[in-house]
């Protein structure tokens, strides 16, 4: 190999300079981003963060006494475009009071193999009983485990309540009228 060839194979000075400038430009973006707060989630190492209105796994809410808000009116199942909600209603009695209304849902199932998280059920609910929570880890190897029963959907009891009706003043409903 002759000396001329070697000379010709060496980079020109302006090429070296433009290379260095590109690296410096790239590094500025990197260094600038290092200073900014992190946008991506660390899921699954850390819990994900959701927008408030994210439509995740449903939650059946309770009222301030811890009674269930759902009165089994069937409107959510009527609104559901994929018919994934199944309800059976039953009577509240003096001995067994489950919800605040006259009746409660003795069975409330949501089939998550069909649910499309459209939110129509939440919109239809007259008592704000069904809401979207932020749960999303539904994956399963067995679709039969995707039917969630009421027990799995219910919100936990609020602090200091037992799920029994508490009134701040006595009410004699039967005396109304005559």
């Amino acid at each position: 190999m002759g000396i001329e060839n070697l000379w010709e194979s060496m980079p020109k000075i302006n090429e070296i300079l433009s290379g260095a400038a590109a690296i410096a430009k790239g590094m500025t973006v990197t260094i600038k981003e290092m200073m900014n707060p992190v946008i991506t989630d660390d899921y699954p190492d850390a819990p994900p963060v959701f927008q408030e209105r994210y439509r995740g796994l449903h939650v059946l809410q309770r009222d301030e006494n811890g009674l269930e808000k759902c009165v089994a009116c069937f409107l959510c199942s009527a609104a559901c475009p994929v018919q994934c909600i199944y309800i059976e209603a039953a009577d509240n009695t003096d001995q067994l009071r489950i919800s605040g209304g006259e009746r409660y849902a003795s069975v409330y199932n949501i089939d998550y193999s069909r649910c499309i998280f459209c939110g129509y059920c939440v919109e239809a609910c007259p008592t704000d009983a069904i809401t979207h929570g932020h749960g999303f880890e539904l994956a399963s190897f067995n679709t039969s485990t995707l039917i969630y029963r009421k027990e799995k959907l219910l919100a936990p009891l609020p602090e200091g309540t037992t799920g029994a009706l508490k009134l701040d003043h006595p009410v004699a409903v039967g005396d109304a009228g005559h």
Binding site: A72, C73, G101, E102, R103, G177
Partner: protein, 693 residues
């Protein structure tokens, strides 16, 4: 006054007879005028003011439910003035009506809800607290929520006018006014539940349907009630294969909207926990569940073995099975088992009546004839107790057409309320009492004679002779007790008569002879309970039973097949007036099979060729071979009732009047089925003397 009258409703000309109400005239041209209190067929109330219409040249809006049409009237039903008035009325109705639609059973089929949506009166200007009254339970079947009541008086009117019970009235005044049972805090009535159905809002709700479902969640099957012989159409509401409600709101069928307690609430025997759901076979003296193939195999082997050695069979058919099943059963017995030992529990002497009417045409009354006849004569029967639909028809005829009803009965009956004449006579002595009515009966243009089980044998012939001597057109109804008693006879489930009342060569044993025969080898009982009060004489007899429940007969059986009830199968049944109607399968009960299928499987296992055993194919054969049953299929298929006359000639056998035994059922009992209906039992145990004559 011109007749017909011509008037204009919303620009449409309509011709109606004089006296027609505007609300009815509007219906004829397809214009619906909303009304809460108006109810076709009952007295006028004009309480709700929803049907207000604008009539030209009349200064004020008029209630169309009480306004008779007049010549040249020009009516506007949806003018801005009318719409405004209706909106105002709704706002008033909603002042105290709780907005608890989500927990109200009526939600989705509520007339008040529909009207509020239509006229947009959802927002109220009233800020006062709503008047609240707690919900009351009047009976196991009826709940009343006074707060929801809009005081349309429909319930009061159907109870008082329709049924003649008058169990409901109005108490308190003004805002506190509410419907109240006539006997304090509970109902003393027929518990028919019609008040629940006519309620335009959710004030009256049903004990069986309470909180169970929503109208859009259910499938509907229009079928025929299986409790008594009247053949009422009942529309079953089915959710997840379970019947949760029965009514007939679409007014299809012969009964319009009428149903009795059994039709409306007595369906729950279908889902009784005591239903048999697997074949049972006796092993070491105990009945144990076995597979279908094992049970069918054993019965088939036994039948073939007994047939091979020339043993005797006894077959007892059902009074609740479909025509197809009865026909197939007698074919199985006569062709397969080569025996005429076939019978059923007879509850009326139809054979003698048909024989006595030999040569006459149009001599059998239909259910509708009871509503149009000029006069009716009831002999030896408590209609309101045992044939509620027929009683309702007679009463409606009296209300609407001022017809005359004559009663000859043993004790007081409800027909006495409006009967032109009531005569008391002991059972069996009714005919002697008839002579006193002869002159009265002659006055009428035509007459329907209904007679119960106490008139049988020669008494039927005397009764027909009496009818002939009146000189007016007379039609007859032989009252039979079960849902397909008539069909079982027409289909030849009789030892001496083949289908269509044709004589057989060698009459077989009747039901009593079978049970008391010391040599009977096999007793095959399809949907009956003959051993309820008696024992089978031959203790060694092999007993096969097809039944819904483990009845006394099933407990004695060697093999029990779980049968499907009438609500779970297809086929046709014939009612007390001889009208054929179609059953439509609604609910499903796991493990049970229709009797026809059980018989078909048995025939196949035995290698018998009895034809295809689907209800349609068997009905085709019945249409071909049984006289009078060649009815128009579209009538049957669309849920109509087709009258039959299975014979018009002499029936050449002497029937056995002593074998005719009334079921003894009341308005609240229904043989085996009623025993397993929780609601019927609860109603009977509730306080209050229920049925009053």
């Amino acid at each position: 006054m011109a007749d017909p009258i011509t008037l204009t409703i919303d620009g449409k000309q309509v011709n109606v007879p004089a006296g027609t109400l505007v609300i009815e005239a509007a219906k004829q041209v397809g214009i619906e005028i909303p009304a809460f209190c108006y109810y076709e067929g009952f007295s006028l109330q004009a309480a709700c003011r929803m049907c207000l219409v604008e009539v030209e040249k009349m200064p004020k809006l008029q209630p169309s439910c009480t306004l008779p049409a007049a010549e040249g009237m020009v009516i506007h039903t949806e003018s801005p003035k009318v719409v405004d008035a209706r909106k105002g009325m709704l706002e008033f109705l909603l002042t105290n009506h709780p907005l608890d639609c989500p927990v109200c059973d009526k939600g989705g089929e509520c007339e008040l809800q529909d009207m509020t949506f239509r006229y947009g009166a959802g927002e109220s200007r009233f800020v006062e607290i709503k008047h609240h009254v707690d919900e009351k339970q009047w009976s196991p079947a009826v709940y009343y929520d006074a707060a929801r009541c809009i005081l349309c008086y429909r319930c009061i009117r159907v109870c008082d006018e329709g049924l003649g019970v008058g169990a409901l009235g109005l108490t308190y005044r003004g805002v506190g006014a509410e419907i109240t049972p006539s006997h304090g805090d509970h109902l003393e009535c027929d518990e028919c539940g019609w008040c629940i159905d006519v309620c335009p809002v959710g004030a009256l709700t049903s004990g069986t349907y309470r909180y169970k479902s929503r109208p859009w969640e259910m499938n509907y099957a229009g079928t025929i009630c299986t409790h008594c012989g009247d053949g009422c159409k009942t529309t079953l509401s089915v959710r997840n294969g379970e019947v949760i409600r029965a009514n007939n709101r679409d007014r299809s069928g012969i009964n319009d909207e009428f149903l009795c307690v059994k039709g409306r609430f007595g369906f729950d025997f279908v889902h009784s926990p005591e239903r048999l759901q697997s074949p049972l076979m006796r092993r070491n003296g105990k009945l144990e569940p076995v597979s279908w193939s094992e049970a069918i195999g054993l019965v088939s082997d036994k039948f073939l073995e007994v047939a091979a050695r020339g043993g005797s069979f006894g077959v007892i058919g059902s009074t609740r099975a479909t025509n197809e099943e009865s026909y197939f059963l007698q074919k199985f017995a006569r062709q397969g088992l080569e025996t005429n030992n076939i019978d059923h529990h007879r509850s009326g002497d139809v054979a003698t009546l048909l024989d006595a009417l030999s040569g006459k045409t149009k001599a059998l009354a239909t259910v509708n004839d009871l509503y149009t006849a000029k006069a009716a004569l009831v002999v030896g029967a408590d209609l309101a107790q045992q044939h509620p639909l027929l009683a309702y028809q007679l009463r409606a005829n009296w209300r609407h057409h001022q017809s005359s009803t004559y009663v000859v009965s043993e004790g007081p009956v409800r027909e006495d309320q409006y009967a032109a004449k009531s005569v008391r006579a002991a059972a069996g002595a009714e005919l002697a009492a008839l002579e006193g009515l002869r002159e009265d009966l002659k006055k009428h243009g035509d007459l329907v004679i209904l007679f119960g089980a106490s008139v049988k044998g020669d008494a039927v012939r005397s009764l027909v002779a009496f009818g002939d001597s009146l000189g007016i057109p007379v039609t007859y109804v032989c009252l039979v007790d079960y849902s397909n008693s008539r069909g079982a006879m027409d289909m030849g489930v009789l030892p001496d008569l083949a289908p269509g009342y044709k004589a057989v060569d060698k009459p077989g044993m009747n039901i009593d002879e079978m049970l008391t025969s010391p040599t009977l080898d096999v007793l095959w009982v399809v949907g009956a309970n003959p051993l309820e009060h008696t024992q089978l004489k031959n203790e060694k007899a092999f007993v096969v039973v097809q039944e819904l429940f483990l009845t006394e007969t099933a407990q004695r059986a060697d093999v029990v097949f779980p049968a499907a009830s009438a609500y779970e199968k297809s086929g046709t049944v014939t009612n007390v007036c001889g009208e054929v109607q179609r059953l439509k399968a609604g609910p499903k009960v796991m493990g049970a099979k229709p009797d026809l299928e059980i018989m078909g499987l048995l025939a196949k296992q035995m290698g018998l060729n009895l034809g295809i055993w689907t209800p349609d194919k068997v009905f085709e054969e019945i249409r071909r071979s049984v006289r009078g049953y060649n009815v128009a299929l579209p009538v049957i298929a669309t849920g109509g009732a087709a009258p039959t006359m299975p014979v018009n000639g002499r029936i050449p056998v002497s029937p056995r009047p002593d074998l005719i035994r009334p079921s003894g059922d009341t308005l609240f009992t229904s043989g085996t089925l009623g025993r397993y209906s929780r609601m019927l039992n609860k109603v009977m145990e509730a306080p209050g003397q229920l049925y009053k004559p």
